[in-house]
Symmetry: C2
Amino acid sequence: LITLQEVRKRYLLGDNVVDALRGVSLSINRGEYVALMGPSGSGKSTLMNTLGCLDRPTSGSYLLDGQEVTTMSLEERADLRNKKFGFVFQNFNLLARANALENVELPLIYARRYTSRQRREKATEVLNRVGLGERLDHRPAQLSGGQQQRVAIARALVNDPAIIMADEPTGNLDSKTSEEVLALFRELNKQGNITVIMVTHEPDVAQHADRLLLLRDGAIVQDTTDMKQ
Amino acid sequence: LITLQEVRKRYLLGDNVVDALRGVSLSINRGEYVALMGPSGSGKSTLMNTLGCLDRPTSGSYLLDGQEVTTMSLEERADLRNKKFGFVFQNFNLLARANALENVELPLIYARRYTSRQRREKATEVLNRVGLGERLDHRPAQLSGGQQQRVAIARALVNDPAIIMADEPTGNLDSKTSEEVLALFRELNKQGNITVIMVTHEPDVAQHADRLLLLRDGAIVQDTTDMKQ
Ligand SMILES: Nc1ncnc2c1ncn2[C@@H]1O[C@H](COP(=O)(O)OP(=O)(O)OP(=O)(O)O)[C@@H](O)[C@H]1O
Ligand SMILES: Nc1ncnc2c1ncn2[C@@H]1O[C@H](COP(=O)(O)OP(=O)(O)OP(=O)(O)O)[C@@H](O)[C@H]1O
Ligand SMILES: [Mg+2]
Ligand SMILES: [Mg+2]
């Protein structure tokens, strides 16, 4: 499904150079559940942005379902993103002026194959699944941190994506709500054969995955299916 | 130091009423290290905003060093905040157009008793303490999630506050960086006699405190110094 070859990402800030990714190569098959861990600043979100087609690498190759993503146009990548990916961002990226329901409907509007009633039903259903049925009309500023995070999770799932990219999806959730979200991911992965790639800094959360990638200074230093460490 | 009596917070949203705090009473003495836990949406951030004088309760009393905060003017509360509190917000609240150094200097500018050179030195020192010495000129969008969180922590500490309010301060930090931040809080608490009130959803993090408050549906359901549970 996914093949990265020698992917590099360099940021230029005035005279400074930050090499956020330093030659990352990896393969991920359909239906895998991968946890991505590593120190703060090691390049996890940068890697997630590359995999989710949000950002182009400075160099290297990214084959997604056999297609080379790095040479696509902005529109082609945006289209691919909407079709294949559901993305839970580390800082949520919710629209401040839209309420929970409207935020979750957004990917369905972009997909252009749902009526307005279908959008409302699908968005309401997934918001109910993450326990926010009573918060549909709240805007982000009227929601708790963990509720905002769950709106971001609902938005990532509403368009039935083939690949879920989740960047610290339980960072603001108590253990019970965390378990519910992780149970939902596991169900989508095991029964829906949906590929899940999840950044987390909590070993208990990483345990839910079948494979662990460890990043350090922009490079993969460990790639294992022995989840007991 | 802090006494809350029957504090309530009610939000009105159209026809809906959300009772975020339903009669919270508690006392916190100088030098205590308190962890605040509870389910997502239980009122933790609302309680933190009340304690940190960012928001006024709908009813009830808040005595801080013997002064009634609920009857103060907006300016008096802003002054009190800057003098006594350092606040790490759950969503960081950094200025997007300022870099890390400028964000951390902000409380010092408001305090109006430092030269521009003193501000730069104090801000640089605390940013170094949280491991961001090489990121001083990066703006928030050029920082990783955990780096943004550490800028927020540095900003909370730079003005040597008497009370640190930290809302999920390690939510985006790997275990090593987390430990460093918690060690810093412990040092400030044990050696500086600084009062620390910290929201967390991780039991390992809560273990660093001496007292645990458990919130559920806007009410305190447990208040214990037995940290082994
Ligand atoms: N401005 C607002 N208008 C309406 N309701 C609000 C507003 N702000 C917060 N709420 C509601 O008040 C409740 C408490 O919110 P609060 O942010 O204190 O929760 P929390 O315990 O910090 O949750 P989390 O762990 O998810 O951060 C939530 O149910 C939230 O939806
Ligand atoms: N636009 C940018 N310009 C310059 N440097 C950047 C930019 N974005 C990120 N960086 C740097 O690239 C490095 C990797 O960032 P990234 O966000 O991928 O880290 P991360 O592993 O997700 O960290 P965290 O666990 O703290 O979220 C960091 O050191 C960061 O400062
Ligand atoms: Mg990140
Ligand atoms: Mg909160």
